[in-house]
Subunit: 108 residues, 2 copies
DNA sequence: ATTATTAATCGTAATATTGCGATATTAGAA
DNA sequence: TTCTAATATCGCAATATTACGATTAATAAT
């Protein structure tokens, strides 16, 4: 096979997996970091920042967008991409909860 | 092609991507949640909890272990898996930092 | 209208992941 | 030792991801 059995897991599990998966590539992490660095978010020049061709970067941006990690506004003939903090918050809260639970039970 | 160009990115970017990637599958998220649920960490029956065959679960556990998200102690002929909170902390801190930065600059 | 510029999409090759049956491996129980 | 239980590993098929050249679409500038 090879198909991910999405339907056997809870919505929350799938949600976390989808967002985490989108960050599961260094190029996409680098894109997020670049979007953090530039205050003005006219971000047409992500391609120049990364060691990847334009179609590849475009594809990575699409995946980040699908996962809800970034949002893009059309700004003239360029596109302004920004981090969507709501989605990052979902992950942060999830991991915070894990840490709280695990430290409380301190086994091993 | 298809190979990930790991060497072009920073160590931190690769670290985050590796950990996030390990959580980029609902089965592995489910494993983490199960390890949280059971207070005793003698966790031989993860296979019964998941809709996946034993070799598949074993493979997912291996990936979580490689990413540093869980650690396994041999306990008789079973193995006791536990969440490694240090690694979860790395992600939590990373996302906290993103949120702090993004809310400060509020663009888009 | 013609010509850049910016970014998305298509097509495709290389590679990685997922899942599982079959088979090892390892340690306790009989 | 022999049998059983718990996991890991091997090998393979199905599928997904990654990367990029070529092309397209859309807007801006001349």
């Amino acid at each position: 096979m090879g198909a991910t059995k999405t339907d056997h897991f809870t919505d929350k599990q799938n949600q976390i997996a989808t967002i985490a998966k989108a960050l599961g590539h260094p190029a996409r992490v680098a894109i997020i970091e670049y979007l953090m660095k530039v205050n003005t978010c006219i971000c047409g020049d992500i391609v120049n920042e990364l060691p990847l061709a334009q179609p590849t970067v475009s594809q990575h941006l699409k995946e980040l967008k699908n996962a809800g990690l970034i949002k893009g506004n059309i700004e003239g003939n360029a596109i302004c991409y920004c981090i969507d903090e709501k989605t990052v918050d979902v992950l942060k809260d999830y991991f915070s909860k894990i840490i709280t639970t695990v430290t409380r039970q301190k086994c091993c």
